[in-house]
Symmetry: C2
Subunit: 341 residues, 2 copies
């Protein structure tokens, strides 16, 4: 997550050229350049599209901007009947810059590693659309949800249809896997997460293309703080679940794996990105701890179950020393079970 980003000096140089974050994200050449930068530095197994999760509400006409030193902000907020009525699934042509970037990156990768496309989840997009910016209490979006669940469901339905169209267009453009980031699912109460976040993630999944170019397109769902709801998330129609650092991978494996009638889902995660501020020897120790918590691969060929895709548990911090990422990746390769690479 945020494979390409401000922690890399080469990224900062490209961003300088582009003038702004959106200048970077909307130009396919710049987007290709920064997407490939981490691959030139690190032995990574996949590339992830450089973009922002808020491109979809921006295409809905809400007016996304990134002020210097602040997070994203929308010109318009969606908090009442009129603004919800004005909301529509956007014309995918408005997001052509993303699909062009996907095609350009895929071409530049030239088979080196697969390319992962992504989107925010319907709920996570709604958080920004209602709050108008990041939040630390989600007061506005939760007020709307508890006061006017009908309006909230209308927003979420539009978002789900939009996200499905958006990810399908990324697949058409060349994405070989797609990831749904439910970054704010974990702020919801039990009993609200299920109808307002999980159900709309499921709606997106039900509309996604599962194959392209004759191959399967794996779908990954990440809910920050979702560990508590894994026994419900395991029923999602996707191939992998991303986990943050609070969840024990062994417990997750036991919960998600071993369903009757099919193999379990792969688990992606989940080291705390703050580990990267520790010296390399501590990083190696923590990598080993995360790998060990998942446990050994199945030795019985006939027994299927989840596999582990090592990843950070959330985005990398902008002050991360790049050479510590090298230490992390070397530790993963050193300690991973052969059969799991």
């Amino acid at each position: 997550m945020r494979q390409a980003g401000r922690y890399l000096p080469e990224y900062r140089a490209t961003r300088e050229k582009a003038g702004s974050f959106m200048g970077l994200a909307t130009d396919k050449n710049f987007a290709t350049e920064v997407t490939l930068q981490p691959l030139d530095r690190y032995a990574l197994d996949a590339a992830i599209l450089f973009s922002d999760i808020l491109t979809v509400p921006d295409a809905m006409g809400l007016g996304l901007s990134f002020a210097q030193g602040e997070g994203p902000r929308f010109e318009k907020v969606v908090r009442d009947e009129a603004s919800v009525a004005a909301l529509h699934v956007p014309d995918m042509n408005k997001l052509k810059y993303v699909f062009d970037a996907v095609t350009s990156i895929r071409k530049a990768l030239n088979g080196r590693v697969p390319l992962i496309g992504f989107s925010g989840s319907p709920w996570t997009l709604a958080c920004y659309m209602v709050e108008g910016a990041g939040s630390d209490d989600y007061r506005h979006v939760k007020s709307l949800m508890y006061s006017r669940p009908d309006l909230m469901h209308q927003i979420l339905k539009i978002n789900a249809l939009a996200v499905a169209d958006y990810l399908n267009a990324q697949i058409d453009a060349g994405a070989q896997a797609v990831m749904i980031f439910d970054s704010w699912g974990g702020v919801l109460a039990d009993g609200a997460f299920q109808p307002f976040s999980l159900d709309y993630t499921a709606m997106v999944l039900s509309r996604l293309k599962t194959h392209a170019e004759g191959r399967q397109i794996p779908r990954i769902v990440f809910t920050k703080g979702g560990g508590l709801w894994l026994d419900e998330m395991k029923h999602l129609d996707c191939e992998a679940l991303g986990l943050d650092w609070t969840m024990n991978l062994g417990k997750a494996r036991a919960l998600v794996g071993g369903q009757v009638g099919g193999p379990g889902k792969a688990l992606q995660g989940n080291i705390d990105p703050n580990v990267l501020f520790a010296p390399p020897s501590s990083i190696e120790k923590e990598v080993k701890r995360v790998l060990d918590s998942f446990g050994p691969p199945h030795t019985d060929m006939h027994q299927t179950g989840p596999t582990h895709i090592f990843n950070l548990g959330h985005g990398i911090h902008q002050n991360t020393p790049p050479e510590h990422v090298t230490a992390l990746i070397e530790a993963v390769h050193k300690h991973s079970s052969r059969s799991m690479i």
Copy 2:
């Protein structure tokens, strides 16, 4: 939580008189006045001491201040060998204003409802001591934890001893129950939560007085985001566990209750405070949902198990309409099982 606070006009009037937050907290008469204000307005079953969780590190000499419109801030931060070496369990005389407030409140309550004392957990205090203020990524405290676990353990041990002394002195002063707020335990990775937060909460509990005035002093532990670790937290030597809104109470009850050899712990929680921004009819619906999620009381007298103490899942928001709190409390009384009141 934050029973007394900025959402109440009478609190704002008293704070105006006191001049500042610490002016309020350090004056036993003001502290008594604001602690009792919610009881005059609402049919509550207990009072909670008005104070701040950062009084202990302030007494350690770190210099607590509250700038207007900002959160708490410490003059000194604890991030290196020298500052850790300088750290000591504070002289409890420096916290006399808290114990005086407890005695004064207890006297003013005159048996109306019991008084709950509280402290931050060793880990939560350490977060502020290392970060110097609130944080949204806990980068400094986690960097120290992963880089120099020895220093982190030293801070936490001092904090645990200080918190135990602090709560015991509150009990001596008249507190009839005590609560440990591990507000930031949930930001830790699985595998770090246990040695850096849970173990030090356990250390505090092991040193607490269990009886005073010939009666038991119930101990409540609240870890925000702790739902994932309930199967470990259930072994804590305390009478109740507080839960935030992400945890299903029925699941929690099944996990925590029914241990061989003793009754389960009481569960306290867990409605999302943002529900209070919805109209009264929605508040009632959500209260009922939370009560129902816990399930009915045991009908078999011989079967012991956890009971439910209705509470918010975290602090109340300063913009909460006070009359919505009335609606919440009326709904709790209307829908609670008789035997559970």
